[in-house]
Symmetry: C2
Subunit: 327 residues, 2 copies
């Protein structure tokens, strides 16, 4: 059994707990929180919640810690700190800061003889893997990534900060016509506006100026101004009834040519359609936690990414079984 | 530079030659043939064609041999024999015999300190990888593989053996309604007939009994009797003009659920649309040849499959570059 610790019990941490319940070879050993542990009620029977400050006391009881914190402020310090005592895995997704985060986690993990894996999930994660495989196979080609239809939590939060907004949910939607061109191998050059539209549901405060809210949304720089955005005002009841989930997904497509005269065209597409973004991300983290444990037991220490993990390491099945049934 | 040797110069061998021409870090060193080398004209300038019998003379000049032979009779003996002198890679696709082939190649490669990789391409190969990744992430789910639209060379050959048939091309076509149900997460149980149809173009000999040919095709056990098959008789000119290519493709789909009450559904799909089956297969082989060379230089010997290769090993780029640009 691989013994897992969860750090942080928000949507992602809960998803990790649910994913562990599906794995016969894994066991949730403890949940660690920065809140008062007495106020954190988890679903798995007979598993304790501890203060994160006391985590080091349990270093011999846990094979891999899965850190379910935010990329902006939590993970840059938490993952290297935890790597001093534990094998560790996170879903750090601030692309521009990955080299720096990698270096920090690598030095902590190497010094402690631990194995760490950062930026795991679906993007970064499975989408990254598919970009790498497709680029390695079709050396002469072009990459496209589309996201959605799905809820962007960052964009939803940005709308919620507008005055007069009680609640908001933002869906990112890929433009069908653009996707069609890419899948046909037309290799289009696409602007931001041509790839995705944004759809926002807003619950406005009573008496709020809806026209002003809509204007603030569609003109918001970075978040909305480069997109065609539709704003729908709905009631709190409609929001709770129809927009409680966190669906997401998207696709990575590479088109390329082969042949001495580039005469043959190929399209590789990897597509995810997810009812629950956090539960799917968590399922990826748990599969990679299995690999991290195995890599550490083989003496392979330091910081890794999904690129460094042989696929067989992810499976609960043996090499013979996967060759016989999946090859 | 990784120095490549090609064994066998049919469609696949020619595809490997074309794929090497796209790779800046790889070099075609020689082609080996069982035919008279004087009769084999290759496209790459200043590269020699040798008799396969003389291959061992070039063992210090070649980093990886890519064996482009048939799975039925060539590869079971050729790959283990070549593994005595070279790192080697093949596309062995007789699923039931993979464990036996793996064992034979493994013992030859280990004894010689060489690295071998078998059953590489897209199915087995990229499809296998996607089955493994998706199964490791969604432990509670169901797998589907659809092939086509594409030319099945085995089925085309089977039709060509019928009396009165001059030429034939068989297309395997996935049934849209079945695909739709799978993509919707309906988890259908599908019979062979419900998943694929078969479309056959036949050039009949003058005076041949077309009704008899059609009956022989649609009733042929194993190949056609379990499918809805359409037979179209066409002229030799039409065959040459419209059916000269070898397109193929298909998709691997896994649907699964997460959550303590299985409340969230997810669909993972990997899809290939290929103008040239042999050139795409060859492009996968060449990417894995890069990995085989690197694994051997690290001392990782014996027989491998795509499951054992860390994705980063496939890329001509460095770890820093792929983390910065693809993660």
């Amino acid at each position: 059994m691989t013994r897992i610790g969860i750090v942080g019990y928000g949507n992602l941490g809960k998803g990790v707990e649910a994913a562990i319940s599906k794995a016969n070879d894994m066991e949730l050993k403890a949940v660690f929180t920065r809140r008062n542990p007495d106020n954190v009620n988890i679903k798995t029977p007979n598993v304790n919640v501890y203060s994160l400050d006391d985590a080091a006391n349990y270093k011999n009881d846990i094979d891999v810690m899965i850190v379910c914190g935010g990329s902006a402020t939590d993970l840059p310090t938490m993952t290297p700190a935890i790597a001093k005592d534990f094998n560790v895995i996170d879903s750090f997704d601030t692309h521009a800061r990955i080299p720096e985060h990698f270096a920090n986690v690598d030095s902590a993990a190497k010094a402690a003889g631990k194995t760490a894996l950062i930026s795991c999930g679906w993007d970064p994660g499975m989408f990254s893997l598919n970009r790498l495989y497709a680029n390695s196979i079709l050396l002469d080609g072009k990459d496209y990534t589309f996201w959605g239809k799905g809820v962007s939590q960052g964009h939803s939060d940005a709308v919620r900060r507008i005055e007069g907004v009680v609640d908001a949910r933002q869906y990112t939607i890929p433009v069908d016509a653009a996707l069609e061109k890419v899948r046909n191998g037309e290799n289009p050059e696409l602007t931001t506006r041509e790839k995705h539209t944004r759809l926002v549901y807003v619950v406005a405060a009573e008496g709020a100026d809806k026209a002003k809210i809509e204007k603030e949304i569609v003109e918001m720089p970075n978040y909305f101004s480069d997109y065609d955005t539709t704003v729908n005002f709905i009631t709190k009841e409609e929001m709770d009834a129809n927009h409680a989930g966190l669906p997401h997904g998207g696709c990575v497509i590479r088109t390329g040519v082969t042949g001495f005269n580039n005469e043959n065209k190929h399209v590789i597409e990897y597509k995810l359609t997810l009812d629950s973004n956090p539960e799917f991300t968590a399922s990826v983290l748990v599969a990679y936690a299995r690999a991290v444990d195995r890599m550490n037991k083989k003496g392979d220490t330091g910081c890794k990414t999904v690129f460094d993990v042989a696929p067989a390491m992810l499976s609960p099945l043996s090499g013979e079984e996967i060759r016989a049934h999946m090859l």
